[in-house]
Symmetry: C2
Subunit: 361 residues, 2 copies
């Protein structure tokens, strides 16, 4: 009875928040049968109305169960569905792996049928209504097989592909160290930096610029969710923090040395090393995947100016990869940077100049 | 012979880089006579060609001299111009104040005629060609009078106003503590965090998302300039670093407590306090000046789509305050967030829906 174009499904999604519902939407796009379940029945109904699948029935026989519940409830939910669906392969999307998988197995989950997972997606918003069919497209989706059978792993890899994502294998421990480094410890750092502002003089805070704004943006994240995440990955995050504390202490001693008239070499090295590390990050401002060219334009701060700018780019068939608007004192200034493929930078500059735009370096 | 509409000038600008040339451009806009000087004569000529003023002659009698040279050369330059122009008021634009002003006076600068300054402007680029006539518009421009005469202070305040900026007074020590907190220590933090990536496994770095990208953006800044800045403000920056190290140590101990089965209250408090601090920052994502509303739209990743979006906003007379394009794996995704005044959010959503856009929460 399946309308699937792939030999996959039905897939049962337990927990229809942002990630669960987005997985449902992308699986439906691929023609996979999707069943939906949520502790809060209304949530599953919202996901169904969005087109993420059908509500699960008693006696359903899912081939795969995707557990996408908050970190705090992940292990117990995995163990529960492992018992409830003894023929299904189970995967989860929890952003911490070792502790959750170990606890799930301790609670009775079948390790052979369990494949840990973590799609590298997410937004600063949550809930089914924020879900998107393309949320997982081209994303990395880390799988941490552990003691999974080869057949279980193969099925979950198929699921990842059906969602449009790229499966990458790591051990649960490697995964947890990786996210501690690139996501969890930076979250703590951002919160700690922003925390310094609580007792700061108003005159000091007023002087804040774009650098501080960028560095404290994620300090606004959901504190309950992050308490869960950090608590579940406490060991690896504490290790990265130790490393950061050591490096900051070196930097501070370097500054004290300068105060005492000694060499600037330590602080200079901190800055040079930081620039080296920054270049390794994939994305527009560094690394191999990076290389966009910036075209800077001074605009009148008035309705329609951005439209005129992007219309010019569109007319030339130039795709705009990113936009950055400078802010001063919390107000946008007239400087807009448009990022385009390096081979289109000059074409865009010419097109904009021809239309009377004030194009800068 | 002055064409000035204000009783100000001529103003001599010593050092025609980004800030010096921008000051020249905005003073010329206000009708003030501007003279230009640079250690590298070609640089002053570039500034003149851009319209920032005339090259200085032997025997010039400036009313104000603005020293806008790299931090390393600021004190000696201030002392030199104080002797060369015994009737002029001297100000500078160096991003560190106490050490520079003290050293300048030690080298013979006249404290009564010297008013320290620091315009809170700047870009990730440098040089005269990056200068803009509006770089200083509506910016805070901190003045640190110290032992200046009232007349000297009044003249420099007039200069700041003529540039379109807002003068704010602080003591040199307050200034240095403020920028240590909101600019210099965050720079070290960003560099130290990015520095952790140098030796990290490629698989780990690959997992990096927007949060890490934001937090390490300023790690790409000019290391020589920042070695100068940090060295000149070493004491106050070291103090903020101590505070950050202490707070990170508390966070780490909180995580270790969780590892050992104890309470999550410490780590939760770090996150809550961070969110509180973040809200104090003026700008779009927090604070009083903040309050823009975000309208999220899913776009086809094709030329012309952004233009269509902004044209819709422009047609409705809605000014776009900021734009944010989500990135995945360094590629832009289809999700664009447009920030507008809170009273225009619903109007924009309706206008976009009416044109067939996929508008989200």
């Amino acid at each position: 009875m399946s309308t699937s174009t792939m030999p996959l499904g039905p897939v049962l999604i337990v927990g229809t928040g942002l990630i669960g519902t987005s997985i449902g939407l992308s699986l439906r796009r691929a023609g996979v049968d999707v069943l939906l379940d949520d502790l809060v029945p209304g949530q599953a109904i919202v996901a169904r109305e969005l087109g993420a699948g059908q509500l699960v029935d008693e006696g359903a026989k899912p081939e795969i169960v995707v557990v996408s519940v908050p970190p705090r409830h992940a292990a117990s939910t995995i163990a529960r569905v492992s018992r409830a669906y003894p023929d299904a392969v189970i995967t989860d999307v929890t952003s911490v792996k070792s502790a959750v998988l170990r606890e799930a197995i301790d609670l009775g989950a079948d390790a052979r049928r369990l494949v840990g997972g973590h799609p590298m997606a997410g937004r600063e918003v949550s809930g089914a209504t924020a879900a998107r069919v393309d949320l997982l497209d081209d994303r990395l989706w880390i799988l941490t097989p552990g003691d999974s059978s080869a057949e279980s792993l193969r099925l979950v890899q198929q699921l990842v592909t059906a969602c449009g994502a790229l499966a990458v294998e790591m051990s649960p421990e490697e995964h947890d160290r990786a996210v501690a480094l690139v996501s969890h410890a930076p979250q703590v750092l951002s919160s700690v930096l922003a925390g310094q502002l609580v007792t700061a003089d108003e005159a000091y805070v007023r002087v804040a610029g774009q650098g501080l704004r960028d560095m404290t943006r994620i300090a606004a994240s959901d504190d309950q969710l992050w308490t869960d995440i950090l608590s579940t990955n406490a060991g690896p995050v504490a290790e990265v923090l130790t490393s950061l504390i050591d490096a900051l202490t070196v930097a501070r001693e370097g500054l004290r040395a300068v105060s005492e008239g000694r060499s600037e070499s330590t602080i200079s090295e901190v800055l040079v090393t930081g620039a080296d590390g920054q270049r390794r990050i994939p994305g527009k401002h560094g690394g191999a995947a990076a290389s966009y060219e910036s075209v800077a334009v001074v605009l009148a701060d008035a309705p329609g100016e951005l439209a005129r700018l992007f219309a010019a780019a569109g007319d030339e068939g130039i795709n705009t990869e990113d936009v950055r608007i400078e802010h001063i004192l919390g107000r946008p200034s007239g400087l807009v940077e448009v990022f385009v493929s390096p081979d289109r930078g000059e074409a865009l500059r010419s097109a904009l100049r021809a239309r009377g735009f004030d194009v800068r370096a």
